[in-house]
Amino acid sequence: MDVIDQEHDELETAFQAKVEAEQRIEPKDWMPEKYRQTLIRQMSQHAHSEIVGMLPEGNWLTRAPSLKRKTILMAKIQDEGGHGLYLYSATETLGISRDEMFEQLHSGKAKYSSIFNYPTLNWADIGAIGWLVDGAAITNQIALCRCSYGPYARAMIRICKEESFHQRQGYDIMMTMAQGTKEQREMAQDALNRWWWPTLMMFGPNDANSANSAQSMKWRIKRQSNDDLRQKFVDATVPQAEFLGLTIPDDKLAWNDVRGHYDFGEIDWEEFKAVVKGNGLCNRERLQARVDAHDGGKWVRDAALAYAAKKADRKAKAA
């Protein structure tokens, strides 16, 4: 073994010891290259999900049925933009620029949560997204507040704090709809039918089929397994659906006394793969909307830069 390899091994051992001692890794600290790459992939995917996630809800912002709902929804979507920004900002500490991350998103190299490739078809979908999709996201994110990478953990803490109102606003819409007219109850049930299974898919493949999980758990950039988090979400959500008087679309769903958890049916992983591959109802529109915003906004950003350069130039000349 040559000297460089040995030095690298020592660094890696020290790194792992630090992680296991629950010390945070900060941007300039030594880290294994694969740790950096895995974080960039995970964090940028998370950031992309936040900003693509603005679109399905934005779809109902101009049609929100009361001014109060419109205001709350606008604040919520704005938060998502903010959360995307916090996450891009945290990812940039790993040595990748936001533009590079956008390029990866636009070229299809980087992914975003495929839940956002489903359409929002009625107003109750906005309730279901807040209640289920944000509920699932929060379950994931709380676990990440203790992630080993400092900037990511800090961003997650901030995000979790701000997101606490999101799930409540969603459930509040569902309650109003579930207690409303016959048509509203139908919208609510229809929304639950369409969002339930895609929400469960958000936690990722079953543990047995999750390729990167073990390493990520060792690095503590993933703190709980996909199946554990999914179970936690199901256990928390079933009573909430019962309270609404809505039916979760799973005939295998039943309380298991022995396990102390709900049993539930098998996820249709073929559908999951199909949507990831581009066959969701909205894949193309979502991505195109992001590309259009970015490319279409280039002249605005260029103008701002050009103006800043002129101003700096004038200042230098005046001095």
Partner: protein, 252 residues
């Protein structure tokens, strides 16, 4: 028109301005030229929606027929809307959105400065609170006018074009009709005609800094206060009002 009717109409004008512009800004959500600007536009939109709710609630109370903010927002057709024509104009590109915003911010700032001194405490309170928001809106839009005007050739061309396109909608802002006169006389409202020179000074200053040319006053359209609108408003309302109109018995 009784005094009550006139107050109602006057409050609708204020509320409708804020609501229609807020609704237009909502269309940008998720599509702004940069993420930071998405957050800025939604902040402004949220301020405007907040203003609209306060004015429309107050209008409903003055009217005394049991119409709340939502009844007024969702169940009036084009002829009953009192917003300025400028504000219902489509977003266009970012230059057009910013030009529309800048002209209105500059106007609303002066209008609300006056309204903050209204003899009506509630109106004065809403105006004083909103004035802080508008101060920021105006700073934001003026900054953009200057950046786009004195930025690249392309941005200069786009913002100058947007200004030219919107110029004819501006004179209406400073019109005084019978309602305005009456509201001014009893200390409720403000003299918007008198705001024109101050507005001109401010706008001219920003345009000059932005290396933009103030268009000649060649054309102008008006009519919003009698419910005469451009065709764009109908589509905006159709989208905004769809749910409560389709399910009138529902509570949301």
């Amino acid at each position: 028109m009784t005094d009550k009717d006139m107050r109602f109409d006057y409050l609708l004008r204020l509320g409708d301005n804020s609501l229609i512009l807020g609704q237009r800004l909502a269309e940008w959500c998720g599509h702004a030229p940069m993420l930071e600007e998405d957050l800025a536009l939604t902040n402004i939109g949220l301020d405007l929606l907040g203003q609209a709710r306060m004015f429309l609630s107050y209008a409903g109370e003055v009217e005394g027929k049991g119409r709340d903010e939502d009844r007024l927002a969702y169940f009036r057709d084009t002829k009953d809307w009192r917003n300025l024509l400028l504000l219902e104009q489509p977003n266009g590109d970012f230059a057009k959105t910013m030009a529309r915003q800048f002209f209105f911010d500059a106007f609303q700032y002066l209008q609300f400065e006056g309204l903050a001194k209204s003899s009506d405490d509630r109106l004065a309170g809403i105006a004083a609170k909103s004035l802080k928001e508008i101060t920021y809106h105006r700073r934001h839009s003026a900054d953009w006018i200057i950046r786009l005007g004195d930025g690249t050739d392309e941005s200069h061309e786009r913002i100058q074009g947007a200004i030219d396109d919107l110029w004819g909608y501006l004179p209406e802002m400073f019109d005084m009709d019978a309602v305005d006169d009456a509201m001014l006389a009893d200390g409720f409202g403000v003299d918007v005609a008198a705001l024109r020179p101050v507005w001109d000074d401010y706008v001219n200053g920003v345009l000059a800094e932005a290396t933009l040319i103030r268009p000649a006053d060649s054309w102008s359209v008006r009519g919003s206060r009698e419910g005469k609108h451009s065709e764009h408003l109908g589509y905006l309302l159709a989208e905004m009002q769809f749910l409560p109109r389709a399910y009138p018995d529902a509570k949301w």
